[in-house]
């Protein structure tokens, strides 16, 4: 870059900053946030909230969430635009928002944006990332699993990651482990999951390799007794993840058939 260009940019930079301060600018937003969707025998709820208005309450505005649901094969089921009042929130029940014909497994995406392009209100918040939780339950309310936001669309690839979960699970108290993986990228992803006993013996148990379609999902299940995990602590690990934070959602099933869950 020539010195003339550099000097010109240096001269214009304060003017640009000044203009940015006085001109309206809609909310600056990060990529859509992703959570797994479970249908069929499960119920899924998402908790969208107009959080910019709570952090800037004297200049609160409505916001819009652009949401979409994808099936396990990566096909888009539907998308919607939801408006949320200042200080408001919305419990998204997918069967009410997208219709009753939903897949058993998939991926939900949400991205917050300004309701108006002519607002000064939220400049000081910087770039905001959609912030919502997922609640998974069974249809008889015997089980509850609450999970924080999982990852962003098209985050950095985790294709070559050797990942180990920080959760130590007690095989003596569980009957089954279910892992849900989503692939929030535009390319097919390969991932291999396995279980490892905690301690010196790092033998891989129950290896489950597979591909996950672009914008799709897969579900992997282990009956712990079938693979010899009937006592002691163990953890889940992976070779390759769709993105660096696309760790699986785990559903830990107890002896009575109920479950809870976590972002591994």
């Amino acid at each position: 870059m020539s010195s003339l260009v550099i000097r010109t940019k240096d001269v214009l930079r304060p003017l640009k900053r000044r203009l940015e301060q006085v001109l309206p600018r809609p909310l600056r937003v990060a990529a859509p946030v992703v959570q797994a969707f479970l249908g069929g025998e499960y119920l899924t709820r998402y908790t969208l909230v107009n959080f910019p208005s709570l952090y800037s309450p004297t200049t609160a505005h409505p916001c819009i969430y652009d949401i979409a649901l994808y099936a396990a094969d990566g096909s888009r089921v539907a998308r919607r635009e939801l408006r949320i009042a200042p200080y408001g929130s919305l419990e998204v029940r997918p069967e009410e928002v997208f219709g009753a014909d939903l897949p058993d497994l998939g991926m939900f995406t949400a991205r917050i944006r300004s309701a108006s392009a002519l607002t000064f209100a939220y400049k000081h918040l910087g770039t905001v990332t959609s912030h919502f939780y997922a609640l998974y339950s069974d249809r008889r309310d015997r089980s509850l699993a609450l999970v924080h936001p999982q990852t962003l669309i098209n985050a950095a690839s985790g294709a070559h990651m050797a990942w180990e979960s920080g959760y130590l699970l007690d095989s003596g108290k569980l009957r089954k482990l279910v892992a849900i993986q989503v692939n929030p990228t535009s390319t097919v992803s390969t991932s291999s999951l396995h279980l490892v006993r905690a301690g010196a013996n790092a033998e891989r148990i129950g290896i489950r390799a597979g591909t996950i379609p672009a914008m799709g999902a897969r579900k992997v299940s282990w009956d712990l007794a079938d693979i010899g995990l009937t006592g002691g602590l163990f953890f889940i690990a992976a070779n390759g993840l769709p993105t660096t934070n696309a760790k699986p959602v785990l559903l830990t099933h107890f002896e009575d058939g109920s479950f809870t869950g976590m972002h591994a």
Binding site: L54, G88, S89, M262
Partner: protein, 274 residues
């Protein structure tokens, strides 16, 4: 290097706590070449309502890749389920006093047994004594005839200038329309755990139904450190779920001094309890 893991027994929610203190790579990341893989030494303090009731200067020495358990099996004072305890595990690894990130695991079991829920989160820096405004946004409270939500604030606080140990917090409960249906002002004890039973707080203010309804709980306070956990419990089926609250740094990156200043201007409803 050092850090402190802050957690509560949550006996008031009818739960039994088991903590696994870990010494290893954080977040599943591979061990980096040259990483400190030395033993982690743990001292433990147990408080009830701000009073130190148990202290062990050498509670555990954990080899790299291993863990140590904190529960009523390893710390007998915790067998008293009538008391709500706040625990601080001070973890040291290697040389120096700078902070090192390390996740630890909490597991809570229902008193009836058989059900449990787990969570991992990072230890915090050892408090500098500087009080900061803290904001909680909890868009994950549900209530119904059977379902209740408990929010546990484990507050390490600091003595206020008037000599009273504690910190002042404002808490609002918002329905999905954005209307504030209840507000509280609380003075939280230093080194104390405080439980907010959402269903009990909303009694007579919010119509319960068979189907759980979602609410948002917003809290503002000043402290040197707090850990805030949200439990979702179905009293009828004994189902239990747990999550922590993510700091605003996870979902915005702007001017946090201004964010903190302005967030405290949140309107309070007329006649709010204080």
């Amino acid at each position: 290097m050092q850090g402190q893991f802050i957690f509560s027994t949550c006996a008031a929610a009818g739960l039994r706590m088991r903590a696994l203190l870990r010494n290893g790579a954080r977040g599943g990341e591979p061990v980096m070449a040259g990483a400190d893989t030395s033993e982690m030494k743990v001292s433990l303090k147990v408080f009830h309502a701000g009073v130190l009731e148990y202290e062990s200067a050498s509670f555990a020495s954990i080899p790299y890749g291993d863990h140590a358990e904190v529960s009523d099996d390893t710390c007998p004072i915790l067998t008293d389920r009538r008391k709500e305890y706040l625990l601080i595990a001070h973890c040291r690894r290697g040389e120096g006093d700078q902070y090192f990130a390390q996740e630890h695991q909490l597991t809570y079991e229902t008193s009836a047994g058989g059900r449990s829920t787990s969570l991992i989160y990072d230890q915090l820096p050892v408090a500098s004594g500087k009080t900061n405004a803290i904001l909680l946004l909890s868009p994950k409270a549900w209530v119904s005839h059977d379902v209740d939500t408990f929010i546990c604030v484990a507050n390490i606080g600091n003595p206020r200038s008037d000599g009273v140990a504690g910190s002042s917090w404002q808490i609002e409960f918002l329905e999905q329309s954005g209307v504030i249906i209840h507000a509280l002002s609380l003075d939280l004890a230093q080194n104390g755990s405080h439980f907010i039973d959402v269903k009990r707080e909303l009694q007579g203010r919010f119509e319960l139904s068979r189907q759980p309804k979602m609410l948002t709980v917003v809290a503002r306070g000043a402290t040197v450190g707090a850990v805030i956990l949200t439990f979702l419990v179905n009293r009828k089926t004994q189902a239990v779920a747990l999550e922590h609250s993510l700091s605003p740094h996870y979902y915005m990156n702007g001017d946090f001094s201004r964010v903190r200043r302005e967030a405290f201007l949140f309107p309070r409803p007329e006649g709010a309890a204080s």
